[in-house]
């Protein structure tokens, strides 16, 4: 174990086959409570597949995925997903909804009363540096890429989930904005004690955000370690990745 704390997400000998082709596994992975685990690797290495197993957008062919001490297959998929925040590239914001409607969507699905929803939305928008007074009624396309991303993070946090899944959320923003977002995201998730599983192909981002770095190669974990271990590792793949820094 790399970090103390109960394991919140566990993948045990998980294999995923799609159309007879193995796209993932066998993979073992543990995400301890409060930690940020970053998955790095080239396209097709299984990063996104791993993420989609956790909120059951995909089912493993073999092996077991456990979320909060329950097998993912025992969870009602809708309940499971509402207890997990999901951030994707460009935020995946709904283009026909305003910023506040986007952020308030999960509370709305959960049937929160309007007043409580409104308070939550404005607290969240403040939290991600997008004051509600200024941004609540904007449409997603009236925002910059970085702003959309902030809204995406706020939306994922809306129902106060323990776990956040992030699929290259900062992939489409410029380097300066990206650095800001990373810093703020790291301090936000640390403060809120969120458990984060984060996918990126950016090694620098992985080192900035990760408590644990997992290098995926052809569907298996080729390296698992803290950023310090990553910096010193002789593993050929890690050396290749470090060369990108």
């Amino acid at each position: 174990m790399l970090l103390r704390g109960a394991v919140v997400v566990r993948l045990s000998d998980v294999t995923v086959q799609l159309g007879g082709r193995r796209v993932l596994g066998p993979l073992n992975l543990e995400v301890p409570r409060g930690a940020t685990v970053v998955l790095v690797g080239r396209s097709g290495s299984g990063k996104t597949t791993t993420l989609r197993l956790v909120n059951r957008l995909l089912e493993p062919t073999r092996g077991e995925v456990t979320v909060l001490d329950r097998s993912a297959t025992d969870w009602d998929p809708v309940r499971l997903r509402r207890s997990i925040g999901y951030v994707i590239q460009e935020g995946g914001l709904f283009p026909h909804m305003t910023v506040s409607e986007n952020v308030g969507i999960v509370p709305r699905l959960e049937g929160w009363p309007q007043q409580r929803r409104r308070e939550r939305v404005s607290a969240l928008l403040d939290m991600v540096g997008m004051p509600a007074a200024q941004f609540a009624d904007r449409a997603p396309h009236q925002l910059s890429g970085g702003q959309r991303q902030r809204v995406g993070v706020a939306r994922a946090l809306a129902a106060d989930p323990d776990i956040l899944l992030c699929d290259e959320p900062f992939g489409a923003v410029d380097p300066i904005t990206r650095a800001d977002l990373q810093r703020e995201f790291a301090s936000l998730t640390a403060r809120l004690e969120k458990t984060v599983l984060f996918v990126t192909h950016d090694v620098r981002e992985a080192l900035t955000l990760g408590d644990v770095i997992v290098v995926l190669e052809e569907g298996s974990a080729a390296f698992v370690g803290t950023p310090e271990v990553f910096r010193d590792s002789d593993h050929p793949l890690v050396r290749d990745l470090r060369a990108l820094l």
């Binding site: 909120n55 957008l57 998929p77 809708v78 309940r79 499971l80 997903r81 509402r82 997990i84 999901y86 994707i88 590239q89 460009e90 935020g91 995946g92 914001l93 709904f94 283009p95 026909h96 969507i105 999960v106 699905l109 449409a139 396309h141 009236q142 939306r155 994922a156 899944l165």
Partner: protein, 218 residues
């Protein structure tokens, strides 16, 4: 007889026939929406249905309208002389654009947006109600508009099986070889089509999330 003369002398009947015409189109389009939108949604959910349903509506669309009215006449329940038979035929023609546009509208929703919706824990119904339908609405309404305009045209032929409407003047004019009488039916029908087209276009703009947020329209 000139159109003007005819119109002045028969203003009441023209208004009455126009109302009848509007009713034929309105009722049939409403029924077609009630059938076509769910059908279009079903087509996006079940791959196997797609070819069958889209193919069937396509084929029905190719049947000449006069022939379809003829086919329907001898049928029990659906057929016979009068407005109900005409409405059945008009529903058939309205189905294709509505089913097709519903299908196209929903399947052109960005996969990432749908993915976000499911990943956030929306049920299948919630995805449809809160994300897919609102995003597809402008396209669906465009289909309804096409169906309505086509319906106004085809409804003129419904007079052939005794359904009334503005076609009555056209058939009467043809029989009397009187252009004035033909025009008394044709002109209001054209105006009706234009008016409905315009009204539905306005409605389309109101539900268009792209227009509302000032984005360039397709």
């Amino acid at each position: 007889m000139s159109v003007l003369d005819f119109t002045l002398r028969n203003g009441g009947e023209i208004a009455y026939r126009s109302a009848q015409h509007l009713l034929l189109v309105g009722i049939s389009t409403a029924i077609a929406v009630a059938i076509g939108v769910p059908l279009g949604i079903a087509v996006t959910r079940r791959r196997r249905l797609r070819t069958g349903i889209l193919g069937a509506t396509n084929v029905l669309q190719t049947v000449p309208s006069l022939a379809l009215f003829g086919f329907l006449l001898p049928l029990p329940l659906l057929g016979g002389i009068g407005a109900s038979t005409a409405i059945v035929a008009l529903v058939v023609y309205a189905l294709l654009p509505i089913v097709r546009n519903t299908y196209v509208g929903i399947s052109s929703v960005d996969a990432a947006v749908r993915d976000a919706a499911v990943g956030m824990g929306m049920t299948e119904r919630e995805v449809l109600r809160l994300v897919e339908m609102p995003l597809a609405m402008p396209v669906v309404l465009a289909g309804i508009r096409t169906a309505t305009v086509i319906g106004v045209g085809i409804a003129t032929i419904a007079a052939a099986i005794g359904a009334g409407g503005l076609g009555d003047f056209i058939f009467r004019g043809l029989a009397m070889v009187d252009n004035g009488v033909i025009l008394a039916g044709a002109v209001p029908a054209a105006l009706l089509a234009l008016a409905l087209d315009g009204a539905l276009h306005l409605l389309e703009r109101r539900v268009d999330w792209r227009a509302r947020s000032g984005e360039t329209r397709r």
